[in-house]
Amino acid sequence: MAKLEYRAADVFNNISRLIDHLKGLNKSKTNIQIEGLDELHTQLNKKGVKQDFWKLSTKLIFKNINKNDLNIPEEILQNVSEIILEMKVSLTEKGYECGNICDSIDQNERNQYGVQLITYGKTSKDIANYKMSWHLDKHIRSVDENEGRGKGFVHPEYHFNMGGFALTKENNFNFGSVLLIDTPRIMHPPLDIVLSIDFVLRNFYGIRVKNLTYSSQYKQIISKSKNRLWRPYYISLANHWENPRFNNLSIQKDYSEKIFGDA
């Protein structure tokens, strides 16, 4: 077997370095607290992980999101003591060779891919609960790979969606005047744990984390994950139109069409 370019060990090392940076953030004066890092670290230290096929799942809690940065109606803001974001990521990945452009995230009944971001507007009373949820899914296909859930709607292979089950599964959720419908599903490249954390930091903390996010060490960590997951994603798309330019690579045939939601 040819040498794998991306192995569990490399990915775990990258996550572990990011954890160290985030712990530094916990200790700094930024007033940003991220919980769940130790547990994630323990997972990385497990023995007997297969290098060409690994599974990780983590739940991190991001505290102290600045509520004044957000567009929250005054009457709600009065009730809300603080905003906390919960990030859940579960993914199963395959190692692959560099020249072999493919979708390396595994999904079946046993291994479900998903990134979920739920923000909670927490109150000291239990009368109101405020919540919003975004999630990045990989399209679930049935055995014949053609028919999935939500038949007829466009399903880009990786798609971001607002709202969804995280909100609707509790019957008592108060939707106010918001009409929460299931669509649209917006095309977005896949996120792993590292990229999901980056997504949260740069979307919810912005300037407060710039010392970290602007640093070259941080950028290096992020770019490794992009290289692993986004390079195949975008090469597949580019190849869709510019086929001869990628002759030296072996490219998974249906990946681009799946990304578009055409396959």
């Binding site: 809690i61 579960s90 009944e109 909670y120 927490k122 509790e170």
Partner: protein, 368 residues
């Protein structure tokens, strides 16, 4: 039937000692009371009678009465015994290691003792006398632990009760640490397991945490039955006094049995849904725990350190307690406890500094 074990108990107040003896003795446990002797005689007595006892109980102040013979502290005696368990002094030493327990009739003694950390590592347990009376199971488990740990070729499995296959599923740093300590004296392993593993949430969880994680109220009709289904993941190692379960084994069992889902990511309702599908006889017999005041998430994972109510980590405030090892997990308190401070100063002292700050915002917003 296992052999009856004997603790030799030194106290300068025989009345108090007899009360402890009466309450503690059982089919499996005998207490042999002795008055203290001057240092030299005391050491000779212990060495001469080594074969007649399995463990030692010392009153904290052997010099407390007018007619006391003790010209030494219990800490000094314990220190000398530990030394004689590994080494000969003046040509004499013990042939075995045995547990040493400290006790006292003085109320609040435990806190005093805990503050005095210099002697902390000498004893396998420190109890007020009234509490010692309930420690039969613990005292017996200590004797058994010393027996296992004194075997020259004890394995990891002998100590923590996990097969090699299971060992790789738990935190690697825990098994590494145990292997390290395995080279040392039995009492070091006993100290370590009691302080850092069995009595700290993380690698192992107790019954309230287990229930929270399964998303089931302990008051549910089917709880006992469900608990039995989790027997395979129970701690079966040495020093077991109270039920404990391996958190990682439960997590892995869950993923393998329930469509690859992650237990921690599911609401109580979803967890119960899966459980009822697998254990058909439990259908309709499992109830979700109630949300505590101010809580929003039904992805229960821990329990309030003060009230014991199940909460999701996102709904709790973190207690300021130093964690020594990676397998240990934070303790949380629920919003009600944090705001009302019912047991502040007793069960918990302070929150992490940033959690105290977070808490303030809850007071600001409710002041209207």
């Amino acid at each position: 039937m296992p052999k009856k074990v004997t603790y030799l108990y030194f106290d300068d107040l025989e009345e108090a000692a007899n009360a402890v003896k009466d309450n503690l003795e059982s089919k499996s446990l005998a207490i042999m009371i002795q008055r203290e002797l001057p240092w030299k005689d005391m050491i000779s007595y212990l060495l001469d009678h080594e074969s007649s006892f399995d463990g030692l109980i010392l009153d904290w102040r052997l010099d407390g009465e007018d007619d006391s013979n003790a010209d030494f502290s219990s800490e000094a005696l314990a220190q000398q015994c530990r030394r004689l368990q590994v080494d000969k002094i003046n040509g004499r030493g013990f042939t075995k290691s045995f547990p040493i327990i400290l006790c006292s009739a003085q109320p609040g003694f435990k806190t005093i003792h805990e503050r005095d950390t210099t002697s902390e590592d000498l004893f396998d347990g420190a109890f007020e006398k009234s509490d010692l009376e309930d420690q039969e199971v613990f005292l017996l488990s200590l004797i058994n632990a010393y027996k296992v740990l004194s075997e020259p070729k004890k394995s990891m499995q002998d100590i923590i009760g996990l097969s090699e296959e299971e060992q790789i599923k738990i935190d690697n740093s825990l098994t590494r640490k145990i292997s390290e300590i395995n080279e040392k004296q039995p009492h070091e392993m006993v100290q370590f397991l009691l302080k850092e593993v069995l009595n700290k949430k993380g690698a192992l969880v107790d019954i309230t945490n287990l229930a929270a994680r399964l998303g089931v109220s302990v008051k549910s009709e089917g709880w006992e039955e469900l608990k039995k289904e989790m027997d395979a993941f129970k701690y079966k190692g040495i020093l077991l006094n109270d039920e404990r379960w391996w958190a990682n084994l439960i997590n892995e069992f869950w993923t393998n049995n329930f469509e690859g889902t992650t237990l921690k990511f599911l609401t109580a309702k979803e967890r119960i849904g899966f459980l009822e599908k697998k254990y058909i006889n439990l259908k309709g017999k499992l109830d979700e725990p109630k949300l505590s005041n101010g809580a929003e998430s039904k992805e229960f994972w821990t329990v309030c350190f003060a009230s014991g109510n199940p909460i999701a980590e996102i709904d709790g405030f973190i207690v300021d307690k130093h964690l020594h090892y990676s397998w240990q997990e934070r303790e949380y308190i629920c919003l009600d406890e944090a705001m009302n401070e019912t047991s502040r100063g007793e069960i918990w002292d302070s929150l992490l500094p940033y959690e105290e700050e977070r808490l303030k915002s809850y007071f600001e917003d409710t002041s209207d």
